[in-house]
């Protein structure tokens, strides 16, 4: 009889199972990384088209995905009980909610931790970049923050301020808000396909040569531009590889090398047994370069004696050699002599010894990257990196071995917020 009486109680939302509820720190947070959302049919706004509303919400969810290890998928087909976040517009008494909206002005939306979001349709919600009204995007980002477990934050610049601030032209989630959400869910980690600095040479109107670089991280079929001076990725990344890099494989790049000598200035992408040379003037891979070589070209043809496929590759400007890494071995190729260097292959652990015993990637590297920002070479494997000992290090500590590998560190503690997004919003 008691159980029967319980079924008569009206529950507006089934309480989330305890297992779903706690994140890294024991605070209220989702415990799973893939979350489903839906703009419910009875909750459309009367002010924007349905497509506009869904686009804005996709973008709002993507903005959170870009800075924490959560992915959000719009799901319009599963049973409603399987949807983690339901979004809807209403006025006054709305959508079976216990909290009544107050009409145009003051309260514009509310949200429940790990639950639903309601928007007051008496407010004048507008699309991004509108000069009028209340930005639906900004409100949505704020309310999603609540759903994910963030309370109000009373700090200028925080997206979690309770009062609505008219949208700035560059509204984004700032550093401290990122740390707040990462306190609940952790930072983004994961292996990369390759990492490189891309050199651009330009001439000013006065004829002066200016050389710029940009840092790129590649993973599978996506890439990020990393803004070193801002300690974050470019807003809006990742982007599909095929969008930014034309003519090379659309995923799974093994390595990148920029061979830059007095005679040679060539950029190569490697995948499998082949490689491509990139024509930066025309922003696409060469099908045939000025030397008459057709691409893609076999690694064995362009770099005789080098095995393939490789794990990664790196060009060392100090000695004009390309170092190809495969399994636990490293092979050297002299670009001036255009031949494999004698004395190779060598064990990676011998050529780049560990500074701290047993603290070494050993082999099967993901990437070897020379950074112009740090003026250092880094070995990447999984979520860790090892810095190669350089001259300044040895000046401070002469006992360090030449080309030694410093103790490992977390990639996420040096290059921040390189996060995946759900594939459905990759092209948003």
């Amino acid at each position: 009889r008691k159980r029967f009486l319980e079924t008569l109680l009206v529950r507006k939302r089934k309480k989330r199972a305890v297992d779903d509820m706690f994140g890294l720190t024991g605070q209220m947070a989702f415990s799973k990384k893939m979350l489903k959302w839906r703009l419910i049919g009875e909750g459309y706004s009367s002010q924007l088209s349905i497509d506009e509303q869904r686009y804005i919400f996709r973008l709002a969810f993507r903005m959170w995905s870009e800075i924490c290890p959560l992915e959000f998928e719009e799901d319009n087909s599963s049973p409603l009980a399987m949807i983690d976040m339901r979004l809807g517009f209403g006025t006054g008494r709305h959508l079976g909610c216990t909290q009544t909206f107050d009409g145009a002005g003051r309260e514009f939306a509310h949200a429940w931790y790990l639950g639903d979001i309601h928007f007051d349709d008496d407010e004048h919600f507008t699309a991004p970049n509108s000069d009028n009204g209340i930005s639906l995007l900004k409100v949505a980002v704020h309310e999603i923050g609540h759903v994910l477990g963030l309370p109000h934050i009373y700090r200028t610049g925080s997206i979690m301020q309770p009062s609505y601030i008219p949208q700035d032209s560059d509204f984004e989630i700032d550093w401290l808000d990122r740390k707040a959400i990462q306190h609940l869910y952790g930072g983004c980690v994961g292996p990369f396909s390759t990492v490189f600095d891309w050199i651009r040479k330009e001439r000013t109107p006065y004829g002066e040569l200016v050389v710029r670089f940009n840092t790129y991280f590649l993973r599978d079929s996506w890439y990020w531009l990393y803004e070193n001076r801002n300690n974050r990725t470019r807003y809006g990344d990742p982007i599909a590889l095929q969008v930014g890099w034309h003519g090379i494989p659309s995923d799974g790049i093994d390595g990148f090398a920029h061979v830059w000598t007095w005679r040679i200035d060539a950029v190569y992408f490697f995948k499998g047994t082949q490689y491509w040379r990139y024509d930066s003037e025309n922003d696409q891979a060469y099908t045939e370069d000025p030397e008459g070589h057709k691409y893609p070209r076999l690694i064995s043809e362009g770099f005789p004696g080098i095995p393939s496929p490789i794990d990664t590759v790196f060009y060392d400007r100090r000695d004009y050699k390309m170092y190809f890494f495969k399994d636990s071995l490293v092979h050297a190729f002299d670009v001036n002599k255009n031949q494999k260097d004698s004395g190779f292959p060598k064990r990676i652990t011998d050529m780049f010894p560990a500074v701290v015993p047993n603290d070494h990637p050993a082999g099967n590297l993901d990437a070897v990257y020379f950074s112009y920002t740090h003026n250092s070479v880094f070995f990447f494997k999984g979520m860790y990196f090892w810095k190669v000992v350089d001259n300044p290090d040895r000046l401070k500590n002469p006992s360090l071995p030449y080309n030694g590998l410093m103790p490992r560190q977390n990639v996420a503690n040096q290059w921040y917020d390189i996060c995946n997004v759900h594939s459905s919003v990759l092209k948003i």
């Binding site: 009206v10 529950r11 309480k15 209220m28 006025t91 909610c97 216990t98 909290q99 909206f101 107050d102 009409g103 145009a104 003051r106 309260e107 514009f108 939306a109 509310h110 949200a111 429940w112 931790y113 007051d120 008496d122 409100v139 609540h146 309370p151 109000h152 934050i153 009373y154 700090r155 925080s158 979690m160 309770p162 009062s163 609505y164 984004e172 401290l176 740390k179 707040a180 651009r200 040479k201 040569l209 200016v210 050389v211 710029r212 670089f213 840092t215 803004e227 070193n228 001076r229 801002n230 300690n231 807003y235 809006g236 830059w260 000598t261 007095w262 200035d265 400007r317 112009y372 920002t373």
Partner: protein, 178 residues
Amino acid sequence: EKLFHSRDHSDVEIPAAHQPELIIDQDAAQQFLKKYGFTKPVNWEEMQYESAPVPVDDDPAPLDIMSLIREGDVLTRTGEDSAPEDSTLNPEYINALKEFQKMYNLPVTGELDDTTKAAMNKPRCGVPDKEANDTSMVNGTSSDLNETHHNSTAGSDAQSLNHTQGGNATADSTEPVR
């Protein structure tokens, strides 16, 4: 529909009943402070599971409107204004008001001055500011956060390239926007 006459709906009229009561007196301020947790922290999470209130027909008694109707007119509602509330100072209210002023970086006067009213009448999120079992954040930190402050990087992407090709080259990064 909401009434409008212009093609672009820019003159849409919001009925008075669809607008929140402005916070201009102590009563309204007390309700505000109670709603958003300043009088007593709100158990927001539990509120979503309460039974929804049963709708009550609270329309006023119908007027003799036939003699009053003209096209486009707004019907005025007759009625007595409610008597002003007793302004006896309530310590709980004053403390809550001070808490609000402190949290919103207003002068902590304990009085419902114009600055405080303006802050209360701003568009805002409906989630309470003070919740039961709250790890509220001020300045982006909670008491158990090990905040890592972001300092401007000493280096920047603009630096000289020490490369063998020669030439006076200065490295710099482009900063494309979204």
